[in-house]
């Protein structure tokens, strides 16, 4: 009969559901944290049970990034919200050239969410973090009433160390630079859309959700003078290139024929009236590279499992209008604009 922090009845991971009391700061909450979060994400910093994690970092520049994840459905071919939340933030760190160190994870859970699903998601998160060599060192759990959330939202924040001499930023693209894409586009978005019942189509496409920091390390080792990196997530390749063009005050000229698109991605886009250039990716990157280093860059990328499909898709050009322009496979020319008409909600 001790004053135990957790109740004696174990969490029912098979049939149990998250209740408001799991977010109320009492015993039920600490039971949830112990029974799911600490169990899977097990590491000494998290285990301390403080409201913050303290650790030493190598001196130098740090990167910090955050992303909320609200993807629907929560589980999809090639991943789930847990792995996605790890990959997404690692990737945003990696795009700054940083070696990811630690993540935090904030969960906002809807009352009634199945504990079994939460358990699966956190296990997947732990696996993704482990595989990427990062740790979830601190976290937070909130529970909102039924109808005030949607299953679970996960906001991950990461910090990483930027090696000496690396200087990546979206405003560094210069006319003449090469534009490199690490592989085929649109797979994450199509995999998610295919899971949406009401769209009524089925594919074998899997999300490309992956942690890109290893690929980035390889690339920076080969070409330390890389200008910019960015992952074409929400808004797809089109948004990514337009953002970079705007930040750098340049235009871009790309070739449709050089952009790999999986046939099922292309077919799904035709069915839905979408453009693969606007579809989200979660394991691809765009690199802007001095023209004379692109061969070395591509060679390094091709040697990495996540860069085998890398290719140069175009060049940075001078353009006061900051347009991204594309030579179509058909032989014409067109602008590649931000998506504005269609809506693809809750893709990440």
């Amino acid at each position: 009969m001790t004053n135990q922090p957790t109740a004696h009845i174990p969490l029912d991971l098979r049939h149990g559901r998250v209740e408001l009391t799991h977010g109320a700061g009492g015993r039920a909450m600490s039971q949830l944290i112990d029974g799911i979060f600490r169990r899977h994400l097990d590491n000494p910093l998290l285990a301390q049970g403080n409201d913050q994690a303290c650790f030493t970092v190598p001196s130098g520049r740090l990167a910090m990034s955050t992303d909320g994840h609200v993807v629907s459905p929560l589980f999809f071919p090639g991943g789930d919200i847990g792995a996605l939340a790890v990959h997404g933030t690692i990737n945003d760190l990696a795009m700054g050239g940083a070696r990811p160190l630690h993540l935090s994870a904030g969960f906002i859970i809807e009352e009634g969410f199945a504990l079994a699903e939460l358990d699966r998601i956190v296990a997947s998160m732990a696996q993704a973090a482990e595989a990427a060599g990062v740790r979830v060192v601190t976290g937070d759990t909130k529970v909102v009433e039924r109808g005030k959330g949607d299953g679970v939202f996960i906001t991950t924040t990461g910090i990483g160390v930027v090696p000496e001499g690396i200087e990546l930023s979206g405003e560094r693209a210069r006319p003449g630079d090469a534009i490199v894409l690490s592989g085929g586009i649109g797979e994450h978005g199509v995999a998610i859309l295919a899971e949406r019942e009401h769209l009524g189509f089925a594919t074998t496409v899997h999300s490309d959700s992956a942690a890109l920091h290893g690929l980035v390390a390889t690339m920076l080792a080969a070409v330390p003078g890389l200008r910019c990196l960015r992952d074409p997530t929400r808004g797809g390749l089109a948004a990514c290139l337009n953002e970079l063009a705007h930040q750098s005050g340049v235009g871009m000229q790309i070739r449709e024929a050089a952009i790999p698109v999986h046939p099922e991605v292309a077919a799904a886009c035709e069915l839905l009236g979408l453009d693969p250039l606007h579809i989200a990716n979660e394991g691809k990157l765009v690199a802007i590279c001095p023209r004379d280093r692109v061969t070395d860059l591509l060679a390094a990328m091709h040697a990495h499992p996540l860069g085998t499909g890398a290719s140069q898709i175009g060049e940075v050009v001078e353009d006061a209008l900051l347009l991204v322009q594309m030579e179509t496979s058909f032989g014409g020319a067109r602008v590649v604009d931000w998506l504005s008409g269609e809506q693809l909600p809750r893709i990440c």
């Binding site: 089925a202 074998t204 046939p263 099922e264």
Partner: protein, 80 residues
């Protein structure tokens, strides 16, 4: 708005008058309510979940042939 795309019928469910179609590996189910008849293997034009019409393979080939000729001959008068 008039977006329609050809897909191949892979299965027909006569009870519900629907078909499974495939477009390069992407599958979906469509209503056959607007067609007099359809068979597995047919290509149909898909629009807002309905098959609008069948694609005529011979006409398609003839059209392509004409395009190829127009290109090759590059001379006036070779109308389709």
């Amino acid at each position: 708005m008039c977006l329609a795309i050809p897909a191949r019928i892979t299965a027909i469910d006569h009870a519900s008058d629907t078909a499974e179609v495939t477009l390069d590996g992407v599958a979906r189910s469509v209503s056959l309510a607007l067609l007099d008849s359809a068979e597995v293997g047919d290509y149909v034009l898909i629009h807002v979940g309905y098959a609008l019409n069948r694609i005529d393979p011979e006409e398609a080939e003839r059209t392509l042939e004409t395009i190829r000729e127009a290109g090759l001959l590059a001379a006036p008068g070779d109308a389709p």
